[in-house]
């Protein structure tokens, strides 16, 4: 694999982790992040989400929710999701704090707001390395089904990039083709490390 990928959503739980899992399974060099202030998981009601800090292990969340209401969280898919996440990496990570993780070639976001935040964050970093980074947004709704679809699409997109010799030359083409094939809207921009 030539390129290094980052999957980014809001809480680094569902969409980014689904994509992360799929890309990892395919052998991609991939990491995943969330851009929110905290990791939020649905709770017993809309007003009572389960909030964790980034860095809290998925295992801990899993145990916590199992203890709280195993039935509820099994039914709404949170426990299976957390179980999946445990198999991918240990804890959710925050995009804004990922400087030590090194540089990525392609960053894939799953929500426009997240895309904006990533772009702004990259703009605000000192571009010392002059290393190009491609940021793409693929809009994916935050539910398990859409996340699964989004993960597949993300994998497909990344495979496209992986196949090109110089993605800079063909980014427009890849994006446009992808949109046409999948009937999805993408956004991309370029930034530097």
């Amino acid at each position: 694999m030539k390129l290094r990928y980052a999957m980014v959503c809001s809480s680094n739980q569902n969409r980014s982790m689904e994509a992360h899992a799929q890309l990892k399974r395919e052998g991609f060099d991939v990491a995943s992040y969330g851009t929110g202030q905290h990791v939020k998981l649905p709770g017993p009601s809309l007003r009572e989400p389960n909030v964790y800090d980034f860095g809290t292990p998925y295992k801990h969340m899993l145990d916590d929710l199992r203890r709280k209401d195993p039935e509820l969280y099994r039914r709404n898919g949170i426990l299976p999701m957390l179980k999946r996440n445990v198999g991918v990496k240990s804890a959710p990570q925050r995009w804004q704090e990922n400087a030590p993780d090194g540089v990525f070639d392609v960053v894939l976001t799953f929500e426009e707001k997240v895309f904006e935040m990533v772009v702004e964050d990259l703009h605000n970093r000192n571009h010392v390395l002059m290393k190009l980074v491609l940021v793409i947004n693929l809009e994916v709704k935050d539910n398990h089904e859409e996340a699964a679809t989004g993960g597949r699409l993300a994998l497909q997109l990344c495979q496209e990039f992986e196949m090109t010799e110089n993605w800079e030359d063909s980014v427009d083409e890849i994006i446009i083709n992808f949109e046409r094939q999948n009937n999805r809207k993408l956004l991309y921009t370029l930034s530097y490390y």
Partner: protein, 1237 residues
């Protein structure tokens, strides 16, 4: 690693990297070779470089790419041998494989800026540049040009994208960053700070900044052109260009308008052909616009409407509104925070942005590091902006000195607009609004109502300072169309006409106050105020350069303002005629400012007329036209000399002039910048309302005469009246912001007005408002303003004004406010500096010698000492002076003063670690001085024999007195001392009080640190009697104050110095007073008695703790003591008598009946209770009628045939009845005692 083995190891590896068939082996060999190369000395490694360079021909992309990385790492280590690699790097720029090409751009860019830094640094440090660097730089120039070529050559996009980034960096580096201090060594020591053109000193032998500035403009032009022809480029390139341009616009607002125009012109849908992802391009535009919305630079703020329109056009209206809401919220928060900060006067935040409500000062959190220019920490921006302005101003002067106005228009320095100070930004905004005519009126009103009072006052003051230098013909005053005459316009701009009319001190004054700003920001100014907490640099208000500039003639300001306008006009006119608006003019002053500031300031002092009032502006108005030109020329000649000598300034000022002359000559003069603020001036200062109106104002507002020339006396009067009116308005104003405005105005006016005229007036008002604390704030405004003037020009008379004002105010506060009021202390605690005269006043206050104090002096002593205390705590520079005051008071002759000061010193100050040493030293010194006094006295009295004899007499008397003291309790000591005083009033009374005042402090410290008592013991023997008296007076108080186990004291007692027996006895007495002495003490005393001290007196206090067997051996010695001592001893032995006495005093409880019963019971006991007979006698004393009952008891007891009992009983009986108890012979008593025991 040794060189030879390294070479031996590296060569095969390099060969393998070149020739091996397996790529993996090649790479790993190269890696190992790299490690070796990096591990040996660069000079030795250089021998291997040719072999390394052979790898450039490797067919493997990875090898070539890795080769660049190796070069990169070698470059990290040393740049000295880099030139060898540069040809390879240039070749690789055009490598077929974009990866190699990209890597070489990255590495080359790194080298480019590092060598640029090194160039700046070497030249700045040594005045020359080393040859290798020169060579390297030649290569870097080639590199730069090659990178630029990449963009237009046919090839892959990757390298082009990096080339675009290179251009963006280039533009940012080679246009002035107003945040950059331009101080090379400082900057270079700060990791992470990026190179900026301002580091390059003009006159650099290798680097011509103007070339780079021109290049930067050209590159920007190229980027804009790329955007205009975006349809020819791939979407990724367009997006990259948009992002780069947006970054440039945010960071260098000078280019904002041209960039925005180009961005707005880009019609994505129309121009973008197939194969480009237009949505993404549009989104980049959207991101750029939203980013602009977040900026607060006035130029960017001005275009908000345009941005909103554009954003709504791309369906991003909601996002735009959201950003605006965020902005508002941030502004409000900022405003609130800064207001709180202001109110709290929080010194912990020295860089607080105190400009609440100031649009230009808002911080935008989301943009954090990126857009420092406009969006980030505003206070720092303010501070840094202004030095540039001053630089620019100075430069403008330099330029204008050598050239003539063209067509009556001021020749403008070109692009220094990004260095605008908030005042100038506001002026620019206001002028822009005025230019909109009717439409702008509402916005103008809103803007003015929201301007922070500080800023507003600056604008007002600035306009006041624009009092024209040359009056128009009087006939034109009423003429409506004068404004259309260019020759009339220019005076109102204050630029051109101000030059020929400079007063004799104006030129230098301008330089000193404007240029000294960066100077004051440098460490060299620290000696001006060493108070770190109070460091003026830490208070944005204090060193706000605007303040410093204010009293100066407006010439420099107007230059800058003109630049604002030139910028506006320029940007509006030309899309990117960048070369013409390029920065050379600002390049030169940038780097030269420091040199000027250092070199010229002293000269200014000598040149400026010392008899001038601090208000330099007055000097400006006293026009001496003829002298000016010559004066100016002289000034600049000198300046050039200085500059050349210090290698810091361009040797070719004329070049600068040329550049300047070539720039921006085609701009219209600024229009009506000042009209709105001059309206403000009118409202506040009606007396001078018709002094000035600009031409725009005259078109929009009723026509006023353009100006009226005022005589110096009139000006003075006007200022005075203005100040008076503002001050009189003061209490009636409700609005807080109005008050802020007033304060700022008053502070400035005060500094400009003759202090003698107004000091009384200001003081009165300040004090009248002090209760509401507003007076204090006003005072602080004035003082800090004056202080900033002092710092900027140490030779100015502001220092005198400052001192006079502060002293007067302090006296006034002391005299007029109650002593319990904290205002005085707070005043001294918060003023920027405390002159000696004020410290003297403080000392007088503490020592009650302040003559103007009314009421209770004692309170004022407390007040003074309270102030001293707080100053010691918080004002480090004055700590020593204040400590001296406190210590002086602590040994003061007045008891009241001394007592209070000692309390402060011992209880409060002595606890502070950093001054406790000083205090202890001082107290010890005073104590020892008083001890040595005897010697002094002897010397002084050796000539007068009779007195000397008397002194000896006193001494011998004293010995016996202290001897008797020992046996007395504390209360009797005083009597003894008094007695001695009475006996020897001439000498001892004086020396006693002196001694008392000298040793009190020391004893107070002893109570905190018992080990100090050792000194007392050591010096007791040779102390004069007055000191001994003082010691004896202090010791009981001190010992009773001891709470903790007095182990240290016991240690001292256990080994008393010779001659300290009296003191020792007193100490032992006190320690065992009223309680059973501790076993330790008893042991020590016993030991002493047995070894060194054979005097039984010291045993007396211990007797109560002695067993009978212990007492008996020493009893004979006790018996031989003087009568009173023996009685005391008895009392100690027979402490039970005290209990009995207490019972007999309780007559209601111990009635006759009770006593009778008790005695009956006692007599039945066998053996009889201790002191039975004494009790019987006391009972008879208490109730004489008990005699018969007692007799019967005694009769009864006779039956008990105990001879010893009978003897004692009858003796007691006898003594009672013979009424001879009091004269009982001691031997008899001794017998009885023996019997009883």
């Amino acid at each position: 690693m040794a060189v030879a083995p390294a070479r031996e190891q590296a060569l095969p590896l390099l060969a393998a990297a070149n020739n091996h068939g397996d790529l993996a082996v090649k790479i790993s060999s190269l890696k190992q070779a790299k490690d070796i190369l990096l591990s040996v000395e660069p000079s030795h490694a250089a021998d291997l470089y040719p072999f390394l360079l052979e790898l450039q021909f490797s067919p493997e992309t990875l090898v070539r790419k890795y080769l660049i990385e190796v070069i990169d790492e070698i470059g990290e280590k040393t740049m000295e041998h880099l030139s060898v690699f540069l040809p390879v790097l240039l070749t690789f720029l055009k490598d077929n494989n974009p990866k190699v090409s990209k890597q070489s751009i990255i590495t080359g860019t790194k080298f480019f800026y590092r060598s640029m830094e090194e160039l700046a640094f070497q030249f700045q440090r040594h005045g020359i540049v080393e040859r290798w660097l020169e060579e390297l730089w030649t290569w870097m120039i080639k590199f730069k040009d090659t990178v630029l070529d990449i963009i237009f050559e046919v090839g892959t996009v990757g390298p082009k994208l990096l080339a675009i980034k290179f251009m963006e960096k280039y533009v940012l580096h080679f246009t002035f960053d107003s945040n950059d201090p331009g101080n090379i060594p400082e900057v270079m020591s700060r990791p992470g700070s990026e190179f900026n053109i301002s580091w390059i000193i003009d006159g650099h032998t290798i680097v011509d900044p103007s070339v780079f500035v021109k290049d930067a403009s050209r590159y920007l032009g190229i980027l804009l052109d790329m955007l205009r022809s975006a349809s020819n480029f791939l979407g990724s390139l367009t997006i990259s260009v948009i992002n780069s341009l947006a970054a440039i616009a945010r960071k260098r607002p000078v280019y904002y308008n041209s960039i925005l125009t180009t961005l707005l012109e880009l019609d994505v849908n129309r121009e973008m052909g197939k194969g480009r992802h237009t949505v993404s391009i549009q989104f980049s535009l959207r991101t750029a616009y939203l980013g602009f919305l977040r900026c607060t630079h006035p130029v960017i703020v001005e275009s908000r409407e345009m941005l909103l329109k554009a954003l709504r056009g791309m369906n991003a209206g909601e996002a735009a509104d959201q950003v605006l809401r965020q902005m508002d919220k941030l502004m409000k928060n900022n405003e609130r925070a800064s207001r709180d900060l202001r109110l709290n006067k929080d010194d912990q935040l020295p860089n607080q942005s105190h400009g609440a409500g100031d649009v230009t000062k808002k911080r935008l959190a989301p943009m954090e590091n990126n857009d420092q220019n406009n969006c980030v920490d505003v206070s720092s921006k303010r501070i840094r902006y202004d030095p540039r302005n001053s630089t620019a101003a100075a430069n403008a002067i330099i330029n204008d000195a050598g050239k003539d106005p063209v067509n009556g228009m001021p020749p403008k320095p070109a692009v220094i607009d990004d260095n605008l100070s908030p005042v100038e930004q506001m002026v620019a905004m206001i002028s822009a609004l005025i230019a909109e005519g009717e439409r702008g009126v509402n916005s103008l009103e809103i803007l003015i109502s929201n301007i922070h009072p500080d800023l507003l006052s600056d604008i007002v003051i600035m306009n006041m300072k624009h009092l024209p230098k040359t009056p128009p013909p009087l006939s034109s005053q009423s003429s409506n169309d004068t404004s259309s005459d260019p020759s009339q316009i220019s005076p109102s701009n204050g630029l051109v006409t101000s030059l020929p009319t400079l007063g004799p001190s104006e030129g230098p004054a301008c330089l000193s106050s404007t240029i000294s700003l960066p100077f004051s920001d440098m460490p060299t100014s620290s000696n001006l105020c060493t108070d770190s907490k109070r460091d003026p640099r830490r208070d944005p208000r204090r060193l706000d350069p605007r303040r410093v500039m204010v009293p100066v003639d407006v010439t420099p300001l107007s230059h800058v303002e003109d630049n604002v306008n030139s910028f506006h006009h320029h940007v509006a006119q030309s899309d990117l005629d960048v070369p013409s608006s390029s920065c050379p003019p600002s390049v030169i002053p940038q780097s030269s400012s420091e040199s000027i500031s250092i070199a010229v300031v002293p000269k200014v002092e000598t040149i400026s007329n010392p008899s001038e009032t601090p208000a330099v502006s007055e000097a400006n108005l006293s026009v001496l036209k003829d002298e000016v030109t010559g004066m100016e020329a002289k000034e600049f000649t000198m300046k050039e000399e200085i500059i050349n000598a210090s290698h810091l300034l361009p040797s070719s000022t004329s070049e600068v002039d040329d550049t300047l002359r070539g720039a921006s000559l085609d701009f219209a003069p600024p229009d009506g910048i000042y009209s709105p603020s001059s309206q403000d001036t009118d409202q506040l200062l009606p007396h001078i309302s018709n002094v000035e109106t600009s031409e725009i104002a005259s078109t929009l507002l009723p026509v006023f005469p353009q100006y009226i020339e005022l005589a110096e006396e009139q000006q003075r009067e006007v200022k005075k009246v203005a100040l008076e009116r503002i001050i009189n308005l003061y209490p009636s104003l409700e609005r807080m912001d109005s008050k802020h405005t007033q304060m700022a105005l008053v502070a400035r006016l005060f500094a400009q007005t003759d202090v003698h005229d107004v000091i009384g007036m200001v003081q009165k008002h300040i004090v009248s408002d002090y209760e509401r604390q507003k007076g204090h704030e006003l005072v602080m405004h004035i003082l800090y303003h004056l202080h900033s003037l002092v710092i900027s020009d140490p030779g100015s008379s502001a220092a005198i004004v400052y001192e006079k004002f502060l002293l007067g105010l302090a006296k006034y506060l002391i005299a007029n406010l109650p002593a319990s009021d904290k205002s005085f202390s707070r005043l001294l605690g918060e003023v920027p500096s405390i002159p000696d005269s004020v410290l003297r006043l403080l000392e007088d206050l503490c020592t009650e010698s302040h003559s103007e104090v009314n009421g209770h002096d004692g309170d004022h002593v407390t007040q003074g000492l309270g102030a001293v205390w707080s100053l010691i705590l918080v004002r480090q520079p004055y700590r020593q002076a204040c400590l001296d005051i406190a210590l002086k008071c602590a040994v003061h002759s007045k008891d009241d003063v001394r007592a209070k000061a000692i309390r402060l010193v011992a209880n409060k100050l002595y606890a502070i670690s950093y001054i406790s040493g000083n205090i202890e030293q001082f107290a010890t010194k005073m104590f020892l001085a008083s001890v040595d006094e005897r010697a002094d006295m002897r010397i002084s009295k050796s000539a007068a024999v009779p007195e000397n004899q008397m002194g000896e007499q006193v001494e011998s008397q004293n010995t016996s007195i202290s001897g008797s003291q020992v046996s007395e309790s504390g209360s009797s000591q005083n009597d003894t001392i008094k007695g001695s005083k009475d006996q020897f009033p001439n000498d001892s009374s004086i020396s006693f009080s002196q001694a008392q005042s000298h040793v009190s402090l020391f004893f107070a410290l002893c109570s905190k640190k018992p080990s100090l008592l050792q000194l007392v013991f050591d010096n007791y023997a040779q102390s004069p009697k007055a000191v001994k008296q003082a010691v004896h007076r202090h010791v009981p108080i001190l010992l009773r104050a001891f709470e903790s186990p007095y182990s240290e004291l016991l240690h001292i007692i256990s080994n008393p110095p010779r001659g300290s027996e009296d003191l020792l006895t007193q100490v032992i007495h006190i320690l065992s007073e009223g309680k059973t002495p501790s076993p330790d003490l008893v042991a020590i005393v016993k030991h002493l008695y047995e070894t060194t001290l054979k005097d039984a007196t010291i045993l007396i206090p211990m007797l109560s703790a002695f067993s009978r067997d212990e007492v008996l051996p020493i009893f004979p010695r006790l018996v031989h003591l003087p009568m009173d001592a023996f009685q005391t001893a008895l009392a100690h032995i027979l402490q039970i008598t005290d209990a009995c006495s207490a019972c007999f005093e309780q007559r209601t409880v111990f009635t006759q009946q009770v006593l009778s019963n008790a005695l009956n019971q006692m007599v039945d006991r066998t053996p009889l209770p201790l002191l039975f007979m004494r009790t019987v006698i006391q009972a008879i004393d208490a109730f004489p009628t008990l005699v018969y009952a007692v007799l019967s008891i005694l009769m009864k007891s006779v039956v008990v045939d105990d001879a010893r009992f009978f003897e004692s009983l009858s003796t007691g009986y006898f003594t009672r009845f013979s009424q001879v108890t009091s004269v009982l012979d001691k031997y008899v008593s001794a017998c009885f005692l023996t019997l009883i025991l």
